[in-house]
């Protein structure tokens, strides 16, 4: 059966489940005794197991299965929750997330091995032994078999035997045989079983020992480890042929060592193959890399869809109404109808936008975990406060905003917040706080990342900039604080003395800035020494529809995104000065670089030689520039259309839009011009 059609749903749902699990685990860590949370996690693991089993992802299924086992014992109070177990569960969660993202990319769960984790999980189950000294034994349980653990320890010598056997192509199994309660001669029965098995198998261990069994010194069940050429089914058949046996459980046993070894051998083989057939493989690889078949999906509240449906039906009504207006109809009717139409299209636009909106919660959700891990790693006590998770943002923004936010938070935690002793000596609370706040603000969404750490050391930033050759010493001295802080966004800039795993490589903040700007947003930093710093990210609500200023350049019309326009002014041509081949004008006591739109856009018939010039002042971060245009047409809401692949690579044009009269107007990418 072709499962690919369910793949999207599978991925979407798994992600959601994992997110829930993440949250429950975090809560569980704080409140060890909450049975409800355990139940939640268990349910998620169970659902995931079922889902991945159906989709044929066996690695996912087996890992979740083992998780389920541990969770089951936790639920039934056989095991006590402790930090170690939660850490391992988190590890499992990460691995599962890894599998899912691999599936999303390639459609396959990949070859990442979770044996190590499964061993650890099994280790918890046999928890009387310390985790680290746990035997590296793992049993991959076939889903069809019972979950009942077969308790039999494998010592080193038998492990060697198993290892050897598996190298020779023999199978190794664990058996649990339960005799029927009305069995008269248990030892004799056991003897028959042993005899039968020994025809084709080698029994390497039994629990209780063979002596005990012979002396009838056992209850109804005993466990065996045996090596055989037979398959699991064959052994089961053999045993089934013996009477007075109530139950048989068989599990294959693999020892980690050789399993790993074999895998690596296989990998080597496969890479070898790849090299051999590199030529034909090339094509294959490119077809493979094209594979990501998974589209982007949005879960939509059914109410919103209903609303959309209503609006569309209204649209149809107005269409018929317009059709009915014939030539004899009064102009009044027409105007009325058009007004009505306008109202509907506006609501329709709103409704469609809302469909694309996703609460920012989806991004925020992963941060508690990240902060927890980081604070453990760095030995800093950190509390994370989040608010405004319900703020809605366009789906495309959601996908892109995660990484920049991670950078900001890492920065705050690593550079911002001091270690507990320092905080104590400074008289601050030992717990550092990171605040993550989101709120809508007009046509944009603001996300703030605030910490109460040491703030940005401006002197250090300056000296570092001089050291890196970004600035001359004299320049650094006259730089004001705001400008200095902006140096942080320079590529390759870092004030950290030590490069840590978390940050300090200097690749962080410039990436943040570029990303946000590519989304049409802006980043700002506010900082106060030893009080903390705050990153303010401002993003447009949606990317598809923007407010723009339409201008004339010559006889052509262009759109400039309103979000980047600071103001519009008129200047006299005579006030323009040339400084190093760059036209500037003194404006409000600052020099404003002047760019002529007709030159940038290669317009011929423009008359920018006149005395009064209309200048659109555009800003990008702290930079501003004035663009001379011929005429202003007005503000308009425009729908951004891509110019497509054929015209990609034209820098000054960000896209196109279709005007009311059907004409295409191009959108000027002012960001690229500054």
């Amino acid at each position: 059966m072709d499962m690919s059609q369910y793949l999207e749903i599978f991925i979407e749902e798994s992600k959601e489940h994992l997110q829930n699990m993440n949250q429950s685990l975090l809560e569980l860590e704080n409140d060890n005794n909450e049975l409800g949370l355990l139940n939640d996690i268990f349910r998620v693991a169970h659902t995931l197991k079922g889902m991945s089993g159906t989709m044929g992802y066996s690695r996912l299924a087996s890992l979740t299965h083992e998780m389920e086992n541990v969770l089951q014992s936790l639920r039934s109070n056989e095991l006590k929750i402790n930090g170690g177990i939660i850490d391992i569960l988190f590890e499992c969660l990460d691995t599962l997330e890894g599998y899912i993202s691999e599936i999303e990319k390639t459609g396959d769960e990949g070859s990442n091995d979770s044996q190590g984790l499964i061993v650890k999980l099994n280790g918890i189950m046999a928890s009387d032994v310390d985790l680290k000294d746990q035997v590296i034994l793992s049993n991959e349980v076939l889903p069809s078999l019972h979950e009942e653990a077969i308790n039999i320890e494998i010592e080193d010598f038998s492990k060697n035997a198993i290892e050897k056997a598996s190298l020779e192509g023999h199978n190794c199994f664990k058996l649990k045989i339960v005799l029927s309660p009305n069995c008269m001669l248990k030892s004799a029965r056991a003897f028959i079983i042993f005899n039968t098995l020994e025809r084709d198998c080698e029994i390497i261990k039994s629990n209780p020992s063979v002596e005990d069994i012979e002396d009838e010194n056992f209850d109804l069940s005993f466990d065996l480890i045996l090596i055989s050429k037979l398959s699991l089914e064959d052994i089961k058949k053999e045993i089934d042929s013996i009477s007075e046996i109530d139950e048989v459980h068989i599990q294959p046993v693999t020892i980690n060592g050789p399993a790993f070894r074999m895998e690596s051998v296989q990998q080597e083989e496969s890479t070898g193959n790849q090299e051999e057939q590199e030529r034909p493989g090339d094509e294959k690889r490119s077809s493979k890399s094209k594979k990501p078949t998974v589209g982007k999906t949005v879960r939509v509240d059914i109410d919103r869809l209903d609303n959309l449906m209503n609006l569309v039906s209204e649209l149809i009504i107005i269409k018929t109404r317009l059709e009915d207006i014939d030539d004899s109809g009064k102009k009044n009717n027409m105007n009325e109808a058009i007004e009505y139409l306008e109202r509907i299209t506006t609501s329709l636009h709103d409704a469609v936008m809302k469909v694309r909106m996703v609460p920012i919660e989806r991004v925020f959700n992963r941060f508690p975990r990240m902060v927890r891990d980081l604070s453990k790693e760095l030995g800093k006590d950190i509390e994370l406060f989040m608010s405004g998770e319900e703020t809605e943002v366009d789906r495309t923004v959601i996908d892109e905003i995660g990484d920049p936010l991670i950078h900001c938070i890492r920065n705050s935690i690593d550079h911002g917040i001091e270690d507990p002793e320092t905080r104590r000596t400074l008289g601050k609370r030992e717990f550092g706080t990171v605040k993550l706040v989101a709120y809508p603000d007009g046509n944009s969404v603001v996300i703030e990342v605030e910490d109460d750490g040491q703030g940005i050391n401006i002197e250090k930033v300056k000296s570092k900039a001089v050291q890196n050759g970004l600035l001359k010493k004299e320049e650094a001295e006259i730089l004001d604080d705001k400008e200095a802080v902006n140096l942080l966004f320079h590529p390759g800039f870092s004030t950290a003395d030590k490069i840590s795993d978390i940050s300090g490589r200097g690749v962080g903040l410039d990436v943040v800035k570029t990303k946000i700007e590519s989304l049409g947003g802006v980043v700002e930093v506010q900082t106060a020494k030893s009080k903390g710093s705050k990153f303010v990210i401002r993003l447009p609500l949606t990317l598809a529809i923007i407010q723009a200023l339409l201008v004339n350049v010559g006889s052509e019309k262009y759109a400039i995104p309103l979000s980047s326009i600071k103001e519009i002014v008129t200047i006299k041509a005579s006030t323009i000065r040339k400084v190093q081949n760059q036209e500037v004008v003194l404006y409000r006591n600052t020099t404003l670089p002047i760019l002529r739109m007709n030159q940038i856009l290669q317009v011929v018939d423009s008359n920018q030689g006149k005395e009064d010039l209309t200048v659109v002042v555009v800003r990008k971060g702290e930079k501003t520039a004035g663009f001379i245009v011929d005429n202003l047409i007005g503000q308009q809401e425009i729908v951004i259309k891509s110019l497509g692949k054929f015209l990609s690579g034209i820098k000054v044009i960000a896209g196109a839009t279709i005007l009311g009269n059907g004409q295409v107007a191009l959108i000027v990418d002012t960001n690229s011009l500054l």
């Binding site: 094509e283 490119s286 890399s289 094209k290 052509e556 940038i600 856009l601 290669q602 317009v603 259309k641 891509s642 110019l643 497509g644 692949k645 054929f646 015209l647 034209i650 820098k651 000054v652 044009i653 196109a656 279709i658 059907g662 004409q663 295409v664 107007a665 191009l666």
Partner: protein
């Protein structure tokens, strides 16, 4: 798609450009439009006339006269924009006129290798002979300089 020539017959959309007939594989043609308002795109290649609004989609348009270095002519009532789709890229090409679809048998098509003409034969996929007309069959991928989709993957 260009290997369709081995099939016994193929349909071609014919168009005229500077007194010569050209043909494009009909499978690459989406629609044929009258010349409409074209918005110039600055900094685009010289032969890109601009973009048009094709029923709500923005589609780039190539002026084939400029592409083939033929003398430029103002558009008239006969001028057409043939919307083609090559490697999933939709582009319009402006031609002098276009009115017919022609079936060509493979024995009516000659290899372009030994023929040179003023358009430079790298754009030519073959020469069709039908009755006493000569039809230049174009390789659109080369005309529009569209790279293989696979090239972008690496």
């Amino acid at each position: 798609m260009e290997n369709k020539m081995v099939a016994t017959e193929n349909q071609y959309v014919l168009f005229k450009l500077d007194n010569e007939f050209y043909g494009i594989d009909i499978l690459q043609v989406e629609t044929i439009e009258r010349v409409m308002d074209i918005t110039r795109v600055p900094h685009a290649l010289h032969y890109v006339q601009g973009v048009i609004n094709l029923r709500g989609e923005v589609v780039p348009v190539v002026n084939l006269r400029k592409r083939f270095s033929l003398p430029e002519m103002p558009f008239d009532d006969e001028s057409r924009i043939i919307i083609v789709s090559v490697e999933e890229i939709v582009v319009g090409i402006i031609v002098d006129s276009s009115s017919e679809v022609l079936q060509l048998n493979s024995d009516e098509i000659e290899d372009a290798a030994n023929i040179t003409n003023n358009t430079g034969n790298e754009f030519i996929k073959g020469i069709g002979k039908h009755e006493d007309r000569i039809i230049i069959l174009l390789d659109l991928k080369k005309v529009l300089d569209i790279k293989d989709a696979n090239d972008d993957v690496e």
